[in-house]
């Protein structure tokens, strides 16, 4: 309990610091928002006027306090470029990316658990070598390349699935899934390959532990020992990796959204960068960083549930 309180407090501090870092990073850039909005030929007077209008002539901390206060209410400010409220746009896109990441993780897990267990059980045999070789190749293929290959195979050649685009779940569930299958697989394949190796190596090192021999010596069969005694112990290091994996997936989603033209957070972020819409970039980055921090907290707590040695401390 104590630990949960302490970790949550750390999370809150990290969120505040992270948001400030992001804010400061983008606020001190060469050429302020007004200059960017007015283009290079603007007169200093015009820039000063617009700065006052945007509020960017105020001290940095005041600006941050203002922006952060807004964040607490879900108000991400109004874009200097499109003059739209940023909050609702982020909210719309967030759901899309969340679906993408969740599906990708599911694919990765469905792939990695059996593949990792088999690769560990078949360790030292040809089949095991083949599986771990395949996972090596899987890791080496970047998600966007996997995406391109999948598009070529299933959309271009077979014509079975759409090459890109998105339909909201609320409009047509079947079409929604058809559009997301390839992005899910391209995210899941790569992360699944990475995860496979972790599951395999965690199981292999657990298999070398004395308690596995104790289990076998009391009459537990080889496979049962692997599943009943091996997996619960192997899960502990794997879960720590899972936290990192989720943040990798989040970032991977940015690229995969680009491949499949999916209107998610990544797409929004890239558009913000293109338009030099800094307030928008700031908002999306903060949302993504907070998501990473929260996911890390969740895995850390899960880690404690799995390991009684940490629980009692």
């Amino acid at each position: 309990m104590n630990h949960v309180v302490r970790r949550t407090a750390t999370l809150l501090v990290s969120v505040v610091v992270a948001s400030f870092v992001v804010f400061a990073f983008l606020a001190v850039l060469p050429g302020n928002a007004a200059e960017v909005a007015l283009g290079t030929n603007a007169t200093p007077a015009a820039v000063a006027r617009l700065s006052r209008e945007f509020g960017t002539d105020r001290p940095l901390l005041v600006q941050y306090a203002d922006w952060a206060q807004g964040l607490l209410h879900g108000d991400f400010g109004t874009s200097y470029v499109t003059h739209e409220a940023i909050g609702p746009r982020i909210a719309d896109r967030f759901a899309v990316t969340a679906w993408l990441v969740a599906g990708g993780m599911l694919v990765a897990l469905l792939l990695a658990l059996p593949a990792g267990v088999l690769a560990a059980a078949w360790h030292r045999t040809g089949r095991g070598a083949l599986l771990s070789g395949l996972s090596q190749v899987g890791i080496a293929v970047p998600a966007f390349l996997a995406g391109i290959l999948l598009v070529y195979t299933f959309a271009v050649r077979a014509g079975a699935l759409p090459a890109g685009g998105y339909t909201p779940l609320t409009e047509d569930a079947q079409d929604w899934a058809r559009h997301l299958v390839l992005p899910w697989v391209s995210l899941g394949l790569v992360q699944g390959a990475v995860l496979t190796r972790y599951v395999r190596s965690a199981l292999l090192s657990v298999q070398r532990q004395d308690f596995m021999r104790t289990a076998r010596a009391k009459g537990v069969r080889r496979w049962a020992a692997l599943c009943r005694h091996g997996l619960p112990n192997a899960a502990i290091p794997v879960v720590t990796v899972l936290g990192l994996q989720l943040s990798n997936l989040l970032v991977g989603a940015i690229v995969v959204e680009h491949v499949f033209v999916i209107p998610g957070l990544g797409d929004l972020l890239l558009r913000g960068v293109q338009d030099r819409d800094l307030l928008l970039v700031q908002g999306v980055v903060v949302v993504l960083v907070v998501a990473v921090l929260v996911l890390n907290l969740v895995t850390d707590l899960l880690y404690r549930v799995l390991d009684p040695r940490l629980r009692s401390r």
């Binding site: 030292r124 104790t214 076998r216 010596a217 009391k218 009459g219 619960p232 112990n233």
Partner: protein
């Protein structure tokens, strides 16, 4: 079910790895209710033998030969995992060396015991199995068995965990219990409890025991019959009293001599090192270290003897001098120069006043107080030139804390150490006039440095010609060839590494030498030579020696004075003789009583 009927019959057992044969065709039987000891140093193949019997060898190892168990119609070697699983834990239970890692850390102890009971269906219901597990833990004299069953392994002490492991092994009343070094990792008083428990319980239920150990005295106190292994072969077997009182094989004799740490004499180490399996000589595996070896030993000797369970595998066993022979027993003539008694008024090198070490533990609650862990309560001691003091105690006694404080590697929380009459701060310390020999010779030598550089480390000008010369001198002093200086630590054996650690400690000509468990990481056969080196090196140079050990025999062999620590407190001190002959503190008595003694 009559005793004497063979229960386990092993014939021509071999274990091969990809590169060498690790067990080279051994045969033995264990009768019902019989306790058989399997003695050997590390690498002798004794653990592999036990694992092979139950089909638990690692994937890379291949067994050969035959293992039969009474009442089982198939050969255990080559049986399927399904067939073996029905026997493991039911007919044969097994206990391993490391209680800290032998239990699954994420499952409760009770459930690990009931798993075996449920698996073999010896209790009808889950509730009955749970009850049986608690009863078993109670039978194994675990205090609060019900609570222990609900605990996770990390919540129990080493001895308690080993009772848990024993509980798993005994849960289905097996006919045979295989124990692989079951007490090596435990304190000596706990070791006694556990071995008493094994002997008592198995005696009562007629369970046979295959007891694997490197400790001859322990085996002699547990077993009826012993098998001595060397280099993957059984070199001698027979009733424990015969083998240990009148050994026939040169290896058994050498091992017994090496273990005999009679004070005031010099133990005899076995020359050379235990070779790696692939470097074993053809024929008799011991021939390259044996004083009696000749050309005949190039052919492998068969085990011979009047009875099949009393054998020796040596070409020359008839020709050996009668035991104990003068050449093999501890050397009582070459005792050290008389120096005892002189220490009383020699120079005071080191003294402590109220030396204390308390640690602040982790905060238990968000606003809770930090608990204090009392590693060492105030202690006063003096160390004079030529004096040899031993500090003995079990884990948690504060021995290592004391050593680190004396060496200036840790700061006392109260009190202090005076070095050479000056009250130096702990960081100023004794300078290079105090040096330490550490426990683990692998860990105390930087694997990235050559031996020469390691020994030169405490010297002032490491690269000078004088330093080079000093290193050569030291190598000779510790009995290593000059060219050993160019090697890396991993290229040397354990005993050689500890010699290098001693050479390094001697390099700056210290006045005080501290030794932390100097032989506990070494094989029995090389212990004696390292102890002798420590003794001669300190006596010749009139140094003060302070040895820390859990092994009373080591202290008795090496020291004149002994301090007994328990839970951070000094409970008794005095001359070695007086403490041995007439211990006053009950804990000292308990400690002395727990030391396994050679029965024969």
């Amino acid at each position: 079910m009559s005793p004497g009927e063979p229960l386990l019959e092993v014939t021509n057992l071999t274990v091969d790895s990809a590169s060498a044969q690790l067990v080279r065709g051994i045969g033995f039987t264990v009768a019902r209710g019989e306790r058989v000891g399997l003695i050997g140093e590390s690498g002798s193949g004794k653990s592999l033998t036990a694992l092979a019997c139950l089909g638990l060898l690692d994937d890379g190892l291949r067994p050969g030969g035959s293992v039969r168990l009474a009442g089982v119609e198939f050969d255990l070697l080559g049986a399927s995992d399904r067939q073996l699983s029905a026997i493991r834990g039911k007919r044969v239970g097994m206990v391993f060396q490391e209680p800290m890692t032998a239990l699954n850390p994420v499952r409760r102890v009770g459930s690990q015991i009931t798993e075996g009971i449920r698996l073999h269906g010896t209790r009808p219901t889950r509730r009955a199995a749970d009850e049986a597990a608690v009863e078993l833990l109670d039978r194994l004299r675990l205090p609060a068995p019900r609570q222990a069953a609900r605990s996770f392994p990390h919540q129990l002490s080493g001895g308690q965990r080993q009772r848990g492991v024993l509980g798993i092994a005994l849960s289905n009343d097996p006919d045979l219990l295989i124990c692989d070094e079951p007490t090596t990792a435990l304190d000596v008083t706990v070791q006694k409890e556990i071995t008493d428990l094994i002997v008592g319980d198995c005696e009562e239920r007629g369970t046979a025991v295959l007891f694997i150990s490197h400790d001859l005295a322990l085996v002699s106190s547990v077993c009826h019959r012993v098998l001595v292994m060397y280099g993957g072969r059984i070199v001698e077997s027979g009733p424990a009293d015969r083998v240990l009182a009148a050994p026939k094989h040169p290896y058994t004799r050498a091992l017994l001599a090496a273990c005999d740490l009679t004070p005031g004499s010099r133990a005899r180490a076995i020359p050379g090192v235990v070779p790696a399996p692939k470097d074993l000589p053809a024929g008799c595996g011991f021939s390259n270290r044996c004083a009696y070896a000749d050309e005949q030993c190039a052919a492998p000797p068969e085990p011979t003897g009047e009875k099949p369970d009393d054998t020796v595998a040596c070409w020359h066993h008839d020709a050996l001098p009668s035991w104990p022979s003068a050449a093999e027993s501890p050397d009582r003539d070459r005792t050290e120069p008389a120096h005892r008694g002189k220490a009383v008024d020699s120079e005071l090198l080191l003294s402590t006043q109220g030396l204390t070490r308390h640690y602040q533990g982790r905060r238990t609650g968000l606003f809770g107080k930090r608990p204090t862990f009392r590693a060492l309560e105030p202690i006063d001691l003096d160390l004079r030139a030529g004096q040899r003091v031993g500090v003995v105690g079990e884990s948690g006694a504060g021995k290592s804390t004391l050593l680190r404080l004396l060496a200036g590697l840790d700061r006392p929380s109260d009190g202090g150490v005076r070095y050479f009459g000056r009250a130096d701060g702990p960081s100023g310390g004794a300078g290079s006039r105090l040096q330490v020999v550490f426990q683990d010779p692998m860990g105390s030598l930087d694997p990235r440095l050559r031996v020469r550089e390691i020994i030169a480390e405490p010297l002032p000008a490491r690269r000078s010609a004088a330093a080079r010369e000093r290193v050569s001198e030291l190598l000779m002093a510790v009995g290593l060839p000059e060219e050993a200086g160019e090697r890396y630590p991993h290229q040397l054996s354990g005993g050689q590494r500890q010699r290098i650690a001693i050479a390094r400690a001697l390099a700056p000509e210290p006045a005080v030498l501290l030794a932390d468990e100097p032989v506990s990481a070494l094989d029995v056969s090389v212990r004696a030579e390292v102890l002798d080196l420590l003794r001669t090196a300190t006596t010749e140079r009139d140094m003060a020696l302070c040895v820390i050990s859990h092994d009373l025999g080591v202290i008795r062999y090496l020291c004149d004075k002994v301090l007994v620590l328990r839970d951070g407190r000094l409970v008794e001190s005095g001359t070695v003789e007086s403490v041995w002959e007439a211990p006053r503190h009950p804990y000292t008595k308990q400690l002395l009583a727990a030391v396994p003694r050679m029965r024969y």
